[in-house]
Symmetry: C2
Subunit: 312 residues, 2 copies
Amino acid sequence: MTITQLQYVLAVAEHQNFTLAAQKSFVTQPTLSMQIQKLEDELEIQIFDRSKKPIQLTEIGKKIVDQARNVVNESGRMQDIVDQQKGFIGGEFKLGIIPTVMPTLLPMFLKTFIKKYPKVNLKIEELSTENIIQRLNEGHLDAAIAATPLEHDHIKERVLYYEPFVGYTTETHRLYEKKELKIEDLDIDDILLLEDGHCFRDGVINLCKTPKSIEEDHFQLESGSFETLIKLSNENLGMTLLPYLHTLDIKESEKKNLRHFEAPRPAREVSLIFHKSELKMQIIEALRNVIMSVVRGAITFHNVEIISPVSK
Amino acid sequence: MTITQLQYVLAVAEHQNFTLAAQKSFVTQPTLSMQIQKLEDELEIQIFDRSKKPIQLTEIGKKIVDQARNVVNESGRMQDIVDQQKGFIGGEFKLGIIPTVMPTLLPMFLKTFIKKYPKVNLKIEELSTENIIQRLNEGHLDAAIAATPLEHDHIKERVLYYEPFVGYTTETHRLYEKKELKIEDLDIDDILLLEDGHCFRDGVINLCKTPKSIEEDHFQLESGSFETLIKLSNENLGMTLLPYLHTLDIKESEKKNLRHFEAPRPAREVSLIFHKSELKMQIIEALRNVIMSVVRGAITFHNVEIISPVSK
DNA sequence: TAAAAACTATCAATAAAACCTATAGTGAAA
DNA sequence: TTTCACTATAGGTTTTATTGATAGTTTTTA
């Protein structure tokens, strides 16, 4: 049994296809086939059920793959240990960010981070929460920024900040005249929302569970951005909720439509998440420190009270 | 980096000697030297400080060795998973047993165990607690039977039984006339004890901390067996304490000298211990079940009350 | 239903590696 | 100084991993 063989197994398990797995592993298909056969012979089991299309894992194959991931992770940690000892923060680092955080947060910390850690080769990808979880589990992402809590078994979460929601109303809206909004004021049926990852914090309302107030029959939000929501709202289709950081760069003319909430403000929890194996933890910590410091600056400057997290 | 290279590193770390490590790894010394050099080159660090004699680990080398052990353990678990899935209980299993448990316990469970699990190739070795811990950590033992609690970070303990101590007096002894002993009756200075692993249970008296009442100046117990203690006691050198199971096969003529304790009886905790990585856990569980069932039989048959453990 | 496409297994050849024997080098002990 | 105990290096051999070509199989397409 070799680490390479285990990596091949992981590749096939992921792609359910020997040919593709071979490409991703930068070897030819026969190489991969033979190495996996060798491993199967050595363990005297079948890892893959090749009769099914696409290829499936056998019952024991699933367990083997889980364990193979452990071994590969542990072997990867070797280089981490060396880097940590040398105080070296560098190498490739793949970060996923959910769409509703990407445009506001990324510009805030990116420059600072690459200046402070020039040897880190940061690869950032905009991904849905679902894809992020999958790729973290497969080891194709080193960390990600997403709305939490997610409560996935293999994923650890470190809160970066709580981002209050701000109401956006228009002149014709029933709440336009209010100076501050209360949670009770909201009517779930007249709020425009994006589909993904907008959860109110525990103890308030969980909007994730009643995802879209715009019924699919009427129309659908394609690549839902908050810009779109603001425009829809401007068309008097209802009010909307914007994460605080987004309100910092909307048009001056639209700022009059913003309505903050009374405390306790509804907020979303935004966290840095990563696999529980804690590979590349030095870079994750570095990233976390940079982000937390720039966000702290951004939010205290604008005098917004951050509500402390509710412990579960 | 290969698993083999990591195994070589572990061997050298253990033996502090390339030549010996090579022998133990069943390769020649140059093979081992070159593979370790390759790994050091790949990681761009020195794992060993070859200038010191015997060879020492560098600062980072210690961390590398710890992690190497993780990787090797995780890869070893692969076969475990296969065995478990197949319901196969077999293969080599190395068990350590402390001297004061060996002669009474081994005959009780060995036959039953090898009959029930004929495919397990059991290798049993009598070892001191200290050696047991070391070998468990190095992966040279799969499990061991020892007096607990030990409270070692990397070692897990599963209690097998509580074995009461029984007093052994002789006619001239001040306690000979008593039918049942009390703990308060004991005078630490007139009890003959072995050096190793005889601990009274938590909450009673810990005899480990006052190891030998026979001063080293006078004489020393070589390979201390309870037979020796009984003989010394018969010479009127004092009373002694015997673990309950030992009292089952002393001479008929000597049984009149036994004095049980009043409840709560002082007892030693005897456990099956193993590395926290839980390799070969199926065999460990099998062994535990066999031992617990035979011990339960032995002790209930003789109508001895087992004191329930004190929770910490 | 035949042809094409997509995919995996097998084979023989080659490149890479792991390993060996022999020996040189090195520091400690005699 | 010599010996001893050990590790490193060199060159050759064996083993293993990988490849390109191709056969076999199933699914998709025409």
